[in-house]
């Protein structure tokens, strides 16, 4: 694992909540300018891994962002370096309008956020139609789009996505994943996506890691993992 190919390098990452240990020494990397998928069942530690990267839980181990250590920094400092996190449950501000949600995304950025909003409408035209609407009235898919757009307002270099497919119809998920591809191509963003829905994630990812009870049990190119007999039976369901 080297800085040249991996924007984020994670080495022997341990983390947990109070006395409960959740992650037991993870090693993985996020591919530069691509999608990396972190797969696993409920409770495997996927969400905790993202929180560990964002500095929301206590950790030991090393996390390098573009070669520089970010472990131990405050969450807002990590965000300021270009790590955007769409949390578990999307973190949509239901009472605020679509516009206000997007403005919040650019909270720490000085200057007019409108050009960035226009940029987002390029990817997500549906959000433009819903501009003044309360975010709580959006459909699940639109809320997911809003959450991603909000995170992209700061021009992050790394986007952390926690189960973007959660509660959405497969068709919508495919649409969102297709847009993610466009975003990578246009902005050079790297994405780490956490998913229970392995087949969808493997279809768009370059690399994938399989997490089981806080340990990585398999890693490699997404194409290879998709072909793996054991994975197919346990996670892909055919």
């Amino acid at each position: 694992m080297d800085t040249e190919n991996f924007l984020l390098q994670v080495k022997s990452l341990h983390a947990g909540y109070g006395p409960t240990r959740v992650l037991h020494g993870l090693d993985f990397g996020v591919v530069r300018g691509g999608v990396t998928a972190l797969l696993g069942a409920n409770g495997a530690g996927k969400t905790t891994t993202l929180r560990a990267i964002s500095g929301m839980v206590r950790i030991s181990g090393e996390i390098l962002f573009d070669g520089t250590p970010i472990s131990g920094l405050a969450t807002e400092a990590i965000a300021a370096r270009g790590v955007a996190h769409v949390p578990d449950g999307r973190g949509t501000f239901m009472e605020l309008s679509v516009e206000e949600n997007l403005r919040l995304g650019a909270y720490t950025k000085r200057g007019d956020p409108r050009p960035d909003m226009e940029r987002m409408f390029g990817y997500f035209p549906k959000l433009k139609q819903r501009f003044r609407q309360q975010a709580g009235t959006l459909s699940g898919g639109e809320q997911q789009m809003l959450a991603i757009a909000r995170a992209l307002m700061l021009h992050p270099r790394l986007l952390l996505l926690d189960e973007p497919s959660f509660g959405l119809a497969p068709l919508i998920v495919r649409e969102i994943f297709a847009i993610m591809r466009q975003i990578i191509a246009a902005e050079g963003t790297s994405i780490l996506v956490v998913e229970q829905n392995a087949s969808l994630a493997l279809a768009i990812a370059e690399r994938a890691y399989l997490l089981e009870t806080g340990r990585i049990v398999m890693s490699g190119l997404a194409a290879d993992i998709r072909k793996d007999e054991a994975v197919r039976r346990s996670y892909l369901g055919y």
């Binding site: 929180r51 964002s54 929301m56 405050a74 969450t75 807002e76 965000a79 300021a80 955007a84 996190h85 769409v86 949390p87 578990d88 999307r90 973190g91 949509t92 501000f93 239901m94 009472e95 605020l96 206000e100 403005r103 919040l104 995304g105 909270y107 720490t108 909000r150 995170a151 700061l154």
Partner: protein, 317 residues
């Protein structure tokens, strides 16, 4: 229709609030209305931190007391004019809120509620403390003189104090309205509703909460200052725990996370106890309780949200 209400409503309200009482209200009624302004500012302060930012405080009576005492002490000891005490009161309360908020806000939810409650319990006794009774007047408190209207204006003292308080109130409400409808207000709501997402967007939550707490203390403190000027008297026993709880009632009944809610809440806490007293001399508390519960049923989300729904329906028609 709706747009007109939101644009001209506040202006019309201010004009009526200034003119009608001068024409019709008695001295005592003017005094009551002045207290409504003071309460409205206090509830507004609580609303900023609890309604908008989601930090429950059961101790805002303490900031009200500090504001009232700052004004009373300055007027009594140093003959400072009443109006000049307000900025000082604002700064003192903001600093007090900031220092208190720093450690207290590390505790979330019910623990913060208890910590602030403890503050409300402690303050009346601290005000009686021997070492400072040269300033505070100990148990006796401080009596101050009600200001007269300046420039030989043809107004009674009650009328002038009411108008002055109303002007301060309007200014502070405009300030709060700008605050919550802009960038800072969005961040306040973001921290309340989605702390993890807010943090991930780069908002320094701890710092932000502390600053909100300080701002909130400042609003409530100015409310206390206005009340001291109107009542012409402060004493430790005017600022018991019940006062903090009353502000909380005003915030919920008026409408949490609503600027106008603070006005309705203040009207409620000033006048409903009187109404309950009129209805039953024997058990005003029980009547007050029933009215309180009735409001919760009829206007869940507060009076402000009930009115908002009515206006929205009018706008559709």
């Amino acid at each position: 229709m709706h747009a007109h209400i939101t644009r001209f409503g506040p202006l019309l309200f201010i004009v009526l609030a200034a003119v009608l009482p001068l024409a019709f209200a008695s001295g005592y009624q003017l005094f009551q209305l002045t207290l409504v302004v003071a309460y409205a500012l206090s509830v507004l302060g609580l609303n900023l931190v609890t309604g908008y930012n989601g930090q429950v405080s059961l101790g805002h009576g303490a900031f009200y007391a500090v504001g009232a005492y700052v004004t009373a002490i300055m007027m009594d000891r140093w003959d400072v004019p009443y109006w000049a005490t307000l900025p000082v009161s604002a700064v003192v309360c903001a600093v007090f809120g900031f220092l208190l908020g720093m450690p207290a806000l590390r505790l979330g939810g019910v623990y913060l509620a208890l910590t602030t409650f403890a503050l409300a319990v402690a303050v009346p006794q601290l005000l009686k403390y021997k070492l400072i009774d040269g300033w505070t007047g100990g148990v006796q408190g401080i009596t101050i003189i009600k200001p007269d209207a300046p420039y030989d204006l043809p107004l009674t003292s009650d009328q002038w104090v009411y108008l002055f308080s109303l002007a301060v109130g309007v200014l502070m409400f405009a300030l709060a309205s700008n605050l919550v409808h802009g960038r800072i207000g969005r961040a306040m709501v973001a921290i309340r509703d989605q702390p993890i997402a807010a943090e991930a967007m780069g908002i320094d939550i701890a710092r932000f909460k502390t600053l909100t707490f300080a701002t909130s203390a400042m609003f409530t403190g100015i409310g206390g200052s206005l009340a001291a000027i109107a009542v012409q008297f402060v004493s430790p026993d005017s600022f018991t725990v019940a006062l903090s709880v009353t502000f909380f009632v005003g915030m919920v009944i008026g409408g949490a996370a609503s600027i106008w809610g603070a006005v309705f809440g203040a009207l409620f806490i000033e006048f409903v106890p009187n109404i309950a007293d009129h209805l039953s001399k024997a058990a005003p508390g029980a009547i007050y309780g029933v009215i309180l519960i009735a409001f919760m049923f009829l206007a869940p989300g507060g009076i402000a949200s009930l009115l908002r729904r009515w206006f929205a329906r009018l706008a559709v028609k």
